[in-house]
Symmetry: C2
Subunit: 367 residues, 2 copies
């Protein structure tokens, strides 16, 4: 017998999750993945100095983390040449995106994004009663001009853009993002998701002053720093906006070992360079595997590659399932025409070899 009732906004939400985890898929199928290439995790692993720091931090896990993430926040500020007041550390970009939407969007207000862009952002917008307006990708890239135009048309409060883009791996030059800021209406804040920025060419990073009140940027330790399971992300933005998070965030939400590990990872620049080189090579390897099988790699500035099947979403979906049957976990974009591709994460050679081995059979099974 139900007695409780949900508040109106949650009551109106569907019971769907943005992503099904690979462990869930394994439990459903009974087939463990020998290649985990679907979540843009980074199997080249975290800096050994970060691993060592996290191991040393484990005995002290009885203490709450520092609610200010002081040391990490100050190090990030120094790295980005901004003030500590311009940086907010949180439980991954996902958690911070949720807080940003809550901070900025009243029920019924409009948020603009691209049709096929990050589903978790959309999940948070819906979760706080925002109204999503989606514009189409253009040439497998998000379209800054169309996003800005839609923001004007709808008086949007937020405009989401990932640069480089997920799920296609494309990127815009930083100056194009800078120009987009001039095009936005006064009502709108640009949510610039730079989760994959460390893999991108330098010219992909826009020159934006930390106190530019038109934009908030998001970075993460989940991708280039290979610490997805630690849950550390951060936002860079004007101090007044960053301070807003303190009104609503879970102040003691950070894992203590993760804070310490992220700081060590940030300081290990050599490891980051090593990971970048490995990812470059893995992108070429994935493209080669695709080519051998009639799938063409889209250019990527990330740690994943979209492989074009030159068919449609039904075909790509069937290919995904055929790969899963063979122990290979990959994902695909959610909407047409992007969903003609499958998205394969960079990984060490044994996992890519498993993909190379599985792909021909998976394709044959669909023929």
């Amino acid at each position: 017998m139900t007695r409780f009732r949900f508040a109106p906004i949650p009551a109106s939400l569907p019971s769907v999750v943005p992503f099904t985890g690979p462990e869930t898929l394994e439990r459903r199928s009974g087939i463990p993945f020998r290649a985990r290439l679907g979540a843009n995790e980074n199997g080249f692993g975290p800096s050994p100095r970060a691993v060592e720091a996290m191991i040393r931090a484990t005995a002290g896990i009885w203490k709450y983390g520092d609610p200010d993430s002081h040391d990490l926040r100050h190090a990030l500020a120094a790295r980005h040449g901004v003030a500590p007041e311009n940086v907010m550390v949180g439980e991954g970009i996902d958690g911070l995106l949720g807080l940003l939407v809550r901070l900025m969007v009243a029920p019924g207000e409009v948020v603009v994004t691209s049709d096929g862009a990050y589903p978790t952002f959309n999940y948070h917008v819906a979760g706080f009663g925002g109204r999503l307006v989606k514009v189409a990708y253009r040439g497998d890239a998000e379209d800054p001009q169309a996003l800005a135009a839609a923001a004007h048309r709808h008086g949007a409060r937020l405009v989401y853009l990932a640069n480089p883009d997920n799920p296609m791996g494309s990127w815009h030059p930083g100056r194009r993002i800078e120009a987009m800021l001039d095009d936005l209406p006064e009502t709108a804040l640009l949510v610039l998701d730079e989760a994959y920025a460390e893999f991108a060419p330098d010219e992909a990073i826009p020159a934006i002053g930390p106190e530019d009140a038109r934009v908030i940027r998001f970075r993460t330790f989940s991708k280039a720093y290979a610490m997805a399971g630690a849950r550390v992300g951060y936002a860079i933005g004007p101090a007044e906006l960053i301070a807003g998070f303190d009104r609503i965030r879970n102040h003691f939400g950070m894992n203590r070992a993760a804070q310490i590990g992220a700081l060590a990872a940030l300081e290990d620049r050599d490891w980051l360079a090593h990971v970048r080189a490995e990812v470059d090579a893995a992108r070429d390897r994935i493209a080669g595997i695709g080519r051998s099988n009639g799938l063409d790699a889209l250019p990527s500035a990330t740690n994943f590659v979209a492989l074009d099947t030159h068919r449609d979403g039904a075909f790509a979906g069937a290919l995904l399932r055929a790969l899963a049957d063979r122990g290979v976990f990959v994902r695909m974009p959610g909407v047409a025409p992007l969903d003609r591709c499958i998205r394969v994460s960079c990984a060490p050679e044994p996992e890519l070899a498993a993909f190379a081995e599985a792909l021909p059979g998976a394709l044959r099974a669909l023929a």
Copy 2:
């Protein structure tokens, strides 16, 4: 130049934090704490098996955690004799309380709690625009009858009760909580915070069926399991309510090593018994230190002791600062008459010895 504006609810919120972290206090004063006795952390530490499991998990931190926390959730369900669908794992009780408020309370709706009870719960209620109604403690304990009466009066959506109580350490027999459920109005869900339940006598735990739609219970790995910095808590409640969390939670929010460590900690019952014995002894030790200095320990079913100064909040506050000056971190209740007490967390002997050494001088400094 500000361009952005916050949504109405966040715009109305003050920029206060529920608790200032000990690291922040250390940075302000320049004096590191030699005794960290203010946050009810558990310095007896986590199970060595949990530490070992977390260390082993560190190399795999490049993977996201399982968004279903499947293994931990199933183990918790088995431990509590409920179905996995009755259990929701989240980033500590704090995070789960925020989600619950969001799930249940529309702006302007009423939530009832005790004046002086857990500030972080109040922070979340305010954060989602709920209206807090507070009833007084009665004899240094939360007052189930007064809470239920206020819930009737105001048509409350949630009623918060911690058993055992924080910050006083008092507890009610489980049958009193069961009786309270019968007293609540149909509109109201009981939020039963059992963060300290593992320290309490068996009879403090109410017999509540998992599908009882009048109540949701919260447990944590932060206290008895000594994993505050890992951020693992869980809720037990009716499956339909528990499923509601999936509509709004940060699905990939859990730290992967923390999930693995919590499972190992849960399985180490011997360590839990060891910690309980250490905490029992530490409570007596704290009471003894208090007694030697004219402060009387209130009975406690938790891992902390409220020491009654027999003065007022101004005196207790000054005593807190005098202890901090001597490198001892303790906290105190926030409202009168509870704030005549200071709250001292159980800890290993070196930290309690530091408290014993510092207290006489701190009291003399106030005389």
